[in-house]
C-alpha cells in the first residue's frame, strides 16, 4: 500500500511530511543565522517584541514551507504563498502585520449553514472565491497538511529540546 502510495508524491503524506520538514528546518536555520547576525536583544521590552516577531516569523515559515511542500496544485497552498509574498512586500513598505491565520474565537452553535460556510472559507486559505464542493476538497487536503505540519513540528521540537 505504501509503495502504491509513493507513486504520486502529492498525495503521499509521508513525502509531504519529509518535504515540509526539510523546508522548515532550512527556514529555521536561515532565521537563526539572520537573528544571530543582526539582533542582539538590548532590554526586556525589545526582547519581548523580538521574541514575538521571531515567533511570527517561525509560524510564517511553517506555513510557507508547508505550502511549498504541497506545491501549486492546491488552491490553498497557492493562496498561502501568494499571501506571504504580498506580506513580504508589505513588510518592506510598512512594519509587520497580523499573523497568517485568522483565529476566530466565537463560534455560535445555532448559526445557519451559510455563516458556517463563510467561516470555513475564512479558515481555509484562498477559500473566499471557491465553489462549495471545491472548498470541501481543499478543506480535506488542508486538514491533512495541517495535521502533518503539527506532527513534524512536534517532532522537531522534541528533537531540539532533548
Amino acid at each position: 500500500m505504501k509503495t502504491a502510495n509513493c507513486k504520486n508524491p502529492h498525495t503521499n503524506p509521508t513525502s509531504i511530511k519529509t518535504r515540509f520538514a526539510l523546508r522548515f528546518l532550512r527556514a529555521i536555520n536561515n532565521l537563526n543565522n539572520n537573528n544571530n547576525s543582526t539582533t542582539p536583544p538590548l532590554n526586556s521590552h525589545s526582547a519581548a517584541a523580538d521574541k514575538r516577531k521571531r515567533c511570527r516569523a517561525i509560524r510564517a515559515a511553517a506555513y510557507a514551507s508547508m505550502a511549498s511542500a504541497v506545491g501549486p496544485n492546491k488552491a490553498w497552498s497557492r493562496a498561502v504563498l501568494r499571501k506571504i509574498r504580498n506580506r513580504m512586500k508589505e513588510t518592506i513598505k510598512k512594519s509587520t502585520r497580523a499573523g497568517t491565520a485568522t483565529v476566530r474565537e466565537s463560534n455560535p452553535r445555532n448559526e445557519l449553514s451559510f455563516g458556517q460556510e463563510n467561516e470555513l472559507r475564512e479558515l481555509v486559505p484562498g477559500g473566499e472565491a471557491m465553489d462549495f464542493c471545491r472548498l470541501l476538497n481543499e478543506t480535506g487536503h488542508y486538514i491533512q497538511c495541517l495535521r502533518a505540519q503539527v506532527q513534524v513540528m512536534r517532532k522537531i521540537l522534541h528533537y531540539s529540546s532533548t
Binding site: N29, V103, S113
Partner: protein
C-alpha cells in the same frame, strides 16, 4: 397632368368620403394597379409642392376638404391600410390559428394530461427525493431519465443540482472521516462546526508549536547552527511511522487521530474525487 389626377384622387376620396378606413381598404382592390400606381406617382409628383400642401394638410386636417390633403391622406391611408390589412389579416390568421389552435391545444393538453400524470409523478418524485436522500434512489431515476428527454432546461438544472448535492454530501462524508470524533455527529451544520473547530485547533497548535520552537531556538541558537537537518529529514523519510510525539500539548484532537492518520490514504480519494 396634375389636375385630372387630383380629380381622380379627390373622386376616389369623394367616393369614399366618410370613413378613411374603408377608403383605404377600397382603393387597392377596386382601383387595382392603376389607381395605386397613379397615387404613387402623385405622391412623387406632388413632392415639388409638398411644402405648401403640407401646410395645407396641417391646416385642413381638421376640415378635411382639400383635394391635396385627401390625396395625401389617401396615399397615407393606402399605405397605412396596407399595413393595417396585413395586421388585420395577420390578426385574422391569428384568430384562425387560435381557433385552430384551441382544439389542438386542448387535444395537446389532453395528450399531455395523459402523459403528464406520469410527469407529475416524476416531479413529485424528484421533489421528494432530496428530502429522502438515499432511502429510495432507484425508482425515481427512471422518471428522471424520461423527464430529461421531455423538458430539457429545468431538468438539466435539477439534475445538476442533484449531482452537486450528492458530491457535497460525499465530500462531507470524507471530511467526517478525516476529522476525528466527527463520525457520530449527525447533520451538516454540526459537521461543519466540528470541521471548523478542528481546523482552528490545528492552527492554534501550529501557533503554539512555533512559539515553543522559537523559545527552544533562541535558547539553543548557537548549537542549532549545526542542526542536523539532513539527518532529521532522513529520519523522517525512513521512519515516518515511528514518529514520536512531543510531551508538549497533546491536544484532544491529535490524540485520537494519530493511528488513523498514518493508515489513511484519503489524499488519493480526494484526487479521484476531483
Amino acid at each position: 397632368m396634375d389636375p385630372p389626377l387630383v380629380n381622380e384622387a379627390s373622386f376616389i376620396a369623394a367616393a369614399n368620403p366618410s370613413s378613411y378606413s374603408l377608403a383605404g381598404l377600397l382603393p387597392f382592390p377596386t382601383g387595382g394597379g392603376g389607381g395605386g400606381l397613379r397615387m404613387g406617382c402623385l405622391g412623387l409628383a406632388v413632392g415639388d409642392g409638398s411644402l405648401e400642401e403640407s401646410t395645407a394638410t396641417e391646416l385642413s386636417g381638421s376640415r378635411g376638404g382639400n383635394g391635396g390633403t385627401k390625396r395625401r391622406r389617401d396615399a397615407g391611408n393606402s399605405f397605412d391600410d396596407g399595413s393595417s390589412k396585413l395586421v388585420s389579416t395577420s390578426s385574422a390568421n391569428q384568430d384562425l390559428n387560435e381557433s385552430n389552435a384551441k382544439p389542438m391545444k386542448s387535444s395537446g393538453s389532453r395528450d399531455e394530461n395523459g402523459g403528464s400524470k406520469t410527469e407529475t409523478e416524476a416531479v413529485s418524485g424528484t421533489s421528494i427525493k432530496p428530502v429522502e436522500e438515499k432511502s429510495t434512489p432507484e425508482p425515481p431515476k427512471d422518471y428522471i431519465h424520461v423527464r430529461a428527454r421531455r423538458g430539457q432546461a429545468t431538468d438539466s438544472h435539477s439534475l445538476a443540482e442533484r449531482a452537486r448535492r450528492e458530491k457535497i454530501s460525499e465530500r462531507m462524508k470524507i471530511l467526517q472521516d478525516l476529522v476525528p470524533g466527527c463520525n457520530k455527529v449527525i447533520g451538516k451544520a454540526l459537521v461543519l462546526d466540528e470541521i471548523i473547530n478542528y481546523i482552528q485547533s490545528l492552527q492554534r497548535q501550529v501557533e503554539f508549536l512555533s512559539m515553543k520552537l522559537e523559545a527552544v531556538n533562541s535558547r539553543l541558537s548557537p548549537t542549532t547552527e549545526g542542526f542536523p537537518s539532513k539527518d532529521l529529514a532522513a529520519a523522517h523519510t525512513f521512519n515516518p511511522n515511528g514518529m514520536l510525539y512531543g510531551p508538549q500539548t497533546p491536544r484532544e484532537y491529535a490524540r485520537g487521530s494519530q493511528a488513523e492518520w498514518l493508515h489513511m490514504q484519503i489524499g488519493n480519494g480526494f484526487e479521484r474525487a476531483t
